[in-house]
């Protein structure tokens, strides 16, 4: 399992930091509190960027690398927030031969979001998925669960316009 580095600019608020510090204070002195702290931190921020992990490291005295090691070990810890709009493009064989790869690249280019990560403003996340089982509609993508089929590279702009 390989985690993609954070691409979204940190937009944490003082309020969130206050909450996080309260969480850490609550767990102070408790054995084995790192996982609960990280889980609650993720509840507060939606993900665990370096800024958040640094606060945890500073306050707990655990090294930042150790925390990062934990964050990249468990699949539920996220280094990137889900975008407000989560775009999944099917790269199953049927979609792929009909050009879903091009579609994916086009989306990535237009939004300036690397595949597998989230745009710096947190609005869009772009990922490739395994077969969505809608081969008849190939190429297929979903945005927050809504299905778009028979896509062409040229369609991307119009579709994205709806979400921008």
């Amino acid at each position: 399992m390989k985690k993609k580095l954070t691409t979204v600019a940190f937009q944490g608020t003082p309020e969130q930091e206050k909450q996080l510090l309260a969480v850490i204070a609550k767990h102070k002195g408790e054995k084995g509190s790192m996982m609960p702290i990280m889980q609650e931190a993720q509840d507060i921020y939606g993900y665990l960027p370096i800024e958040v992990q640094t606060i945890i490291a500073r306050e707990t005295g655990v090294s930042l690398e150790e925390i990062y090691g934990i964050a990249t070990f468990y699949s539920q810890f996220k280094l990137n927030p889900d975008g407000k709009y989560a775009i999944s493009v099917c790269l199953g064989t049927a979609c792929y031969v009909k050009g879903s790869g091009d579609v994916l690249d086009e989306i990535s280019k237009q939004l300036n979001v690397p595949i597998g990560s989230t745009s710096p403003d947190g609005k869009f996340s772009v990922e490739a998925t395994r077969c969505l089982g809608a081969c008849g509609l190939a190429p297929v993508m979903t945005i927050n669960g809504e299905v778009y089929g028979s896509l062409k590279k040229e369609d991307v702009k119009t579709i994205l316009a709806k979400y921008r």
Partner: protein, 636 residues
């Protein structure tokens, strides 16, 4: 809670609400609200019933309860209506509208809505041929031969109400252990019962407790519960936590008393929010009643319980990895010895059992070791819960005595294979297990028999496969899972499983050579013997067991470059029979690869020339075959 007498009072008070007193006119409606029920839409059903009861002013007579899983997954949402002196009525596939009708016709009018009952559902929505409508789930074949011990309260009581648990003799075992038994007697009882761990290799539970029992009172010890059920297709532990969480809480307190621990941790998958919520409620309620905390039942024994959430790592189901995770680190396993009973969580003596194991404990204490060991086989006592799934008519959660044959589970309880297909094999133990071929369908399922035939009990996933399943692909599926979940600490598992997967990939893409089979076997044997923890040590099992029973399928992939089950895409071919093809062109229209063209051949009796698949560009998606209304396209 100061005494058993106090407990008895609560039981007296509540019991009547569950086991309705004879001659009364009270009605109890339970709605199955485990995760699967909720996902299937149980919440609007519950809300409709709640509103209906209020509107009709039935509040005094009718109690509405949310409960855990009754086990019939494919019929969710399920509600059951209990009335004193009357047969229990099981309504399935409910909706808010249907629920309203049940309220109107059955609860108010006293007339069962037969077409919504399980009997109709099992008969394709029609009245049974013999005209006898058994409205209750209890009377179906699915239930009749089950023996619900671990699941006894699931689907019966309200898991969020401690009183209901107490009404079913809950916490009586804890009271008995604390006030009438010594810790050693508790261990002896568990040992004598023959209970073995339900989560993996089947180590005797009592033995584990005994190993950790030394030096009571002088050292910090821990009791842990493994609720990190990660096998794809297994959900026994979730069902227990969602349907009967207090059983686990009570059992852990008993275990704490037995070994001399005052702190417990339940390690639950974060993917189980309903289970977590109910467990939290259960712990709070138990604390409030003094069933957790200081001086339980007025004795010197104190015990506290905390929940730790997993974060998505299958390896944390392994005991040492689970403890490392609770300690707040990467969930990597540690070598044993030292065993957790000597040096476990935070380097202190620790016992770890899984949810289903704990669910058996209170009854063993209450009813005695002999009661428990009277069921099962020589070396595997009691019952086992299975999550029955795959190509089978009745999917769901079943609990049967150890030693039940696979045939009985599949053909009787499971209702056989759907669509007239043939049973090919069953897979137990998830990614750690293996498959049981049709020739061994009469195997009595217990720990040792499964090991002998190259599989394992595991936590209890039981996936049924028919002739459309490719065994090489199946092995690949599990390997893919293990590779993804390998922690990466030891070499055999980190690199070895990846290489195994790559060899399988090579075979299913038609590039296999016969030496690959030898390589698979050598590598599998190595990984099994050399890996650090149970994950690696069992990871090759799906490969070895499919090689053992379905070697010819591997050979077909390698030598004939064919997938007999027609699953492996690179090895299948779709062909259009020109004699059957009427030339309508639907296939070409649906082909995502635009690789279907018209030929110049028109079959006798047809008006249009037939179609043909240009194989070079075919992506084997099967869209053509499903679009052909004339059965002209075949897969081979």
């Amino acid at each position: 809670m100061k005494s058993l007498a106090e407990l008895e009072k609560i039981k007296e008070k509540t019991r009547g609400a569950i086991v309705l007193p004879d001659g009364g006119n009270e009605i109890r409606i339970v709605v199955g609200m485990a995760t699967c029920g909720i996902a299937a839409g149980a919440r609007p059903v519950y809300e409709a019933l709640e509103a209906g009861i209020k509107e009709n002013g039935l509040g005094k007579q009718v109690s509405l309860i949310q409960t855990g899983c009754v086990g019939v997954c494919q019929y969710e949402p399920v509600i059951e209506v209990y009335q004193a002196g009357k047969e229990r009525v099981t309504y399935v596939k409910m909706t808010a509208e249907k629920a309203a009708k049940v309220l109107e016709q059955h609860v108010k009018g006293g007339k069962v809505v037969e077409e919504y009952t399980i009997t109709y559902a099992q008969n394709g929505g029609k009245a049974p041929a013999d005209g006898v409508v058994h409205t209750s789930l209890t009377d179906t074949v699915f239930c009749k031969t089950q023996l619900r011990q671990a699941l006894r309260n699931c689907g019966l009581i309200d898991p969020e109400n401690i009183d209901e648990y107490i009404a079913m003799d809950g916490y009586k075992a804890l009271g008995k252990a604390l006030t009438e038994m010594t810790p050693d007697q508790v261990i002896e009882t568990v040992l004598a019962s023959g209970l073995r761990g339900r989560g993996g290799a089947g180590f005797p539970t009592g033995m584990k407790w005994k190993f950790a029992s030394g030096n009571r009172g002088n050292v910090q010890k821990y009791v842990c519960c493994n609720a990190d059920e990660g096998d794809p297709g297994a959900f026994m532990d979730r069902s227990v936590l969602e349907g009967d969480p207090h059983a686990v809480v009570e059992a852990m307190a008993i275990a704490g008393y037995a070994i001399g621990a005052d702190q417990g941790y339940v390690y639950v998958r974060a993917e189980y929010p309903v289970a977590v919520k109910r467990l939290k409620i259960a712990i709070e309620q138990a604390k409030k009643y003094g069933l957790l905390g200081k001086n339980i039942f007025g004795t010197d024994f104190s015990f506290d319980l905390d929940i730790r959430l997993g974060a998505g790592a299958f390896v944390c189901g392994e005991e040492t990895a689970l403890m490392t995770s609770i300690e707040g680190k990467r969930g990597e396993p540690r070598p044993r010895p030292p065993f957790p009973a000597i040096k476990g969580l935070f380097e202190k003596p620790t016992i770890l059992n899984n949810v289903e194991t704990y669910a058996n404990i209170p009854q063993i204490i209450l009813n005695g070791a002999e009661w428990f060991s009277s069921v099962g086989t020589e070396k595997s006592k009691g019952t086992k819960v299975f999550a029955l799934g795959g190509k089978i008519k009745n999917t769901g959660l079943v609990e049967v005595p150890m030693g039940t044959t696979l045939r009985h589970i599949i053909e009787e309880i499971g209702g056989g294979i759907p669509n007239g297909k043939k049973f090919k094999a069953a897979q137990t133990g998830g990614p750690s297990g293996g498959c049981i071929p049709a020739s061994l369908i009469d195997t009595q399922i217990d720990y040792d028999n499964l090991i002998a035939i190259g599989s394992m009990m595991g936590s209890g996933g039981l996936i049924v496969m028919d002739e459309d399943t490719c065994m090489v692909d199946l092995a690949r599926f599990f390997l893919d899972f293990t590779v993804d979940e390998s922690c990466g600490k030891c070499t055999p598992c980190r690199v070895g499983t990846r290489r195994l997967l790559e060899i399988l990939d090579k075979i299913i893409s038609g590039n296999g050579e016969m030496e690959d089979i030898t390589r698979l076997e050598e590598l599998s044997t190595y990984i099994k013997s050399a890996s650090l923890c149970g994950l690696g040590q069992t990871a090759p099992n799906p490969v070895l067991s499919t090689l053992r029973y379905f070697r010819d399928e591997y050979i077909a992939h390698i030598v004939d470059k064919k997938c007999p089950a027609g699953v492996c895409k690179k090895l299948i071919r779709y062909e259009i029979d020109p004699e059957k093809c009427i030339g309508c062109g639907m296939c070409a229209k649906n082909c995502p690869a635009s690789t279907i063209v018209r030929t110049d051949y028109t079959a006798p009796g047809h008006k249009l020339a037939s179609m043909k698949i240009e194989q070079a560009n075919c992506v084997k998606c099967g869209a053509c075959m499903s679009s052909c209304k004339f059965g002209a396209i075949s897969k081979g």
